[in-house]
């Protein structure tokens, strides 16, 4: 009976296509605007989240910062202090931080750029590879979300021992070693200022397009530059600097850590460690506080549009009620015939409530499809705008446009509710007809 009612409702709706469509208009507009706004809002949010995550979501950015004068008059005489070797943040301090907050802090991703260089094959002068040399902590791989393709990652022991080992990109390994296993091979790197370093390959990481940007195909393959990673302490040694600590670095947090709390804890920890340092202290911040504000704005807009949508849903519902009343009057005879053939009042009521629900659900579905289409389009535009606004991070920006499943479910639910609410009165009016009056209606 229920199923037959649905079939009949659809037949009835489709036998009056234009009228049904016009009736659904309010619902279509209401639902589609909610879907559009949630799709755009969602895509902005997820683009930003994904972008910030790719730039270090669950991390605290930290750097050594000069202590600025507190009084305005002191600014004139103040000069930026020079960073001495003992002003840097040492691995010991980081180890102490991990010990103090083992539930929050996992490690440090620090790097030191050594310069560009060229790997030269002694046996074959035509075979070379251009690289950037980066000193890194072992956590760098995780921070950059790079996958190890072969061999092993750099280790703390590599750092402590200032080992002459390196990680290379799979694209470089493939070409330079011509498909042969590079692990354990010795590389000779000539830097741009003429130094020659011998490094042993211990691992190969997978080149990540999102991270390093698209491969520049205008450059011949063998001239393309890839990133080579060596232990950061080794890089300090090769640079011949006294520095052994980090200036700019990212502190990696455990998955469960609260970023805001961790930022406070890290700040407090370094306040104490740097208490005696007159020139410098440590500044720690996270990007999630920016994210929080953007989210709030998007949520407020979404809520406001949903409010407007609710009003248009009500207006649409009144339209549905109106057309149902017209339809019931038109079909009075039919109702009489059905009653004469044994339809109970509740069956008649059910039939028209279902018809109103179907009308609203079809309208809702059209609205959802329309909203998904327009939302995806506008979401792309929004992502494009973000990409242009933050063009320096263009490589990091990950576009994610998809409609919110929650919004779709809620839309269907509310269209159905509209159907029930605004369909009940006309349906009840139909059910309350006297069979003989309905049959004799002209």
């Amino acid at each position: 009976m229920f199923f037959e009612n649905i079939k009949e409702a659809i037949t009835s709706i489709f036998s009056n296509k234009m009228r049904s469509l016009l009736t659904m208009l309010g619902i279509i507009i209401g639902i589609s605007s909610v879907i559009i706004i949630t799709t755009i809002g969602g895509s902005i949010q997820s683009t930003l989240t994904a972008t910030l995550n790719s730039m270090g979501g669950n991390t605290v950015s930290t750097y050594v910062e000069a202590r600025y004068p507190e009084n305005e008059e002191d600014w004139e005489t103040w000069v930026y202090p020079t960073l001495e070797a003992d002003d840097y943040v040492t691995q010991e301090m980081i180890d102490g931080l991990i010990e103090a907050y083992p539930d929050e802090v996992k490690g440090v991703a620090a790097s030191s750029y050594l310069g560009s260089g060229q790997v030269k094959d002694v046996a074959d002068s035509d075979n070379y590879a251009n690289v950037n040399l980066n000193g890194v902590t072992p956590e760098m791989l995780e921070y950059m979300k790079l996958e190890l393709y072969a061999g092993r990652n750099l280790t703390d022991a590599d750092n402590v021992g200032q080992k002459k080992v390196c990680l290379i990109a799979d694209t470089m390994a493939e070409r330079y070693f011509n498909g042969e296993n590079p692990i354990g091979e010795k590389l000779s790197v000539t830097t741009s200022d003429g130094n020659i370093f011998d490094l042993v390959v211990v691992g190969v990481y997978e080149y990540n397009q999102a991270l390093f940007g698209k491969v520049d195909t205008s450059i011949p393959e063998k001239d393309r530059v890839t990133e080579m990673m060596i232990p950061i302490q080794t890089s300090f040694k090769l640079q011949g600097t006294e520095q052994t600590g980090y200036e700019y670095f990212n502190i990696l947090l455990t998955p469960l850590a609260d970023v805001e709390q961790a930022t406070l804890d890290i700040t407090a920890y370094f306040e104490e460690v740097y208490a005696d340092n007159e020139d410098f202290h440590i500044y720690a911040y996270n990007m999630q506080s920016d994210m929080g504000m953007i989210n709030t704005v998007i949520n407020v807009i979404t809520l406001a549009v949903s409010g407007i949508a609710a009003i248009s849903l009500i207006v649409g519902g009144v339209g549905v009620m109106n057309i149902m009343l017209v339809s019931i009057t038109e079909r009075t005879r039919e109702i009489g015939v059905r009653m004469a053939l044994g339809a109970k009042r509740k069956t008649i009521r059910q039939q028209f409530v279902i018809e109103a629900i179907m009308l609203c659900l079809i309208g809702g579905t059209i609205g959802i499809l329309l909203g998904i289409g327009i939302g995806a389009l506008l979401g792309q535009v929004a992502g494009f705008v973000i990409q242009n606004m933050y063009s320096e991070y263009a490589n990091y920006i990950i576009m994610e446009v998809h409609p919110s499943g929650m919004a779709i479910t809620l839309s269907l639910f509310f269209s159905m509710l509209t159907g029930v609410f605004f369909g009940y009165y006309p349906a009840n009016k139909a059910a309350k007809m006297e069979v003989i009056d309905a049959l004799r209606y002209e």
Binding site: T11, V337, A340, L341, G342, A343, K344, V435
Partner: protein, 232 residues
Amino acid sequence: MSEPVIRMEKIVKTYYQGKPNELEILHGIDLVVNQGEFVSIVGESGSGKSTLMNIIGVLDRQTSGNYYLEGQDVNSMTDEVRSAVRNQRIGFVFQNFNLLPRANALKNVMVPLMYGQTRVKTQKERAMEMLAMVGMEERAMHRPNELSGGQKQRVAIARAMINDPAIILADEPTGALDSKTGHMVMDLFHKLHEEQGKTIVLITHSQELAAETQRIVTILDGEIVAERGGEH
């Protein structure tokens, strides 16, 4: 003798009751129709034939008097039971066919099954059987607007028969048809009466058709004035 299908005692129907324009249409009708009878009701226009028929068909309520359908007091039935009675015990055939315009012949015949209690798996076959009985099986997929008047009425008769009712009520079933088609429809009623022993009450303006039935009840101004034939 077993309980008659219809037993009416002093049925009165008054419109606008208690109002200044109060109008009594039926003035105390006593009528008994027995199992297997084929009765026709005749009388001039406005005499109250349809009014009486609608009460018999549980489409309308009498103002006073008693009406027993198969021994059951119709007046004391709830709305739900009245629906079930219309669905199961009564097959109505209207002058203007009253088929559902958007449904094809087969669907129209199946409507009473849809509102019935019992879920029969072979609903379609049953409906096809009914259509075959009235010679309409080839038009099963046609909508009412694709059928002639006589064909529509045959579909309506198939629909009236589908739940195997106790009684078939037909209010001028040939009224909208030419006399040849009217005779064809009338033959169908005779067939149902003779082959299946159906109890049938028929309103007609045609003396000729009335004469074919077993008993003629004549109504004048809301009263039964003459009965001819019958096997009391």
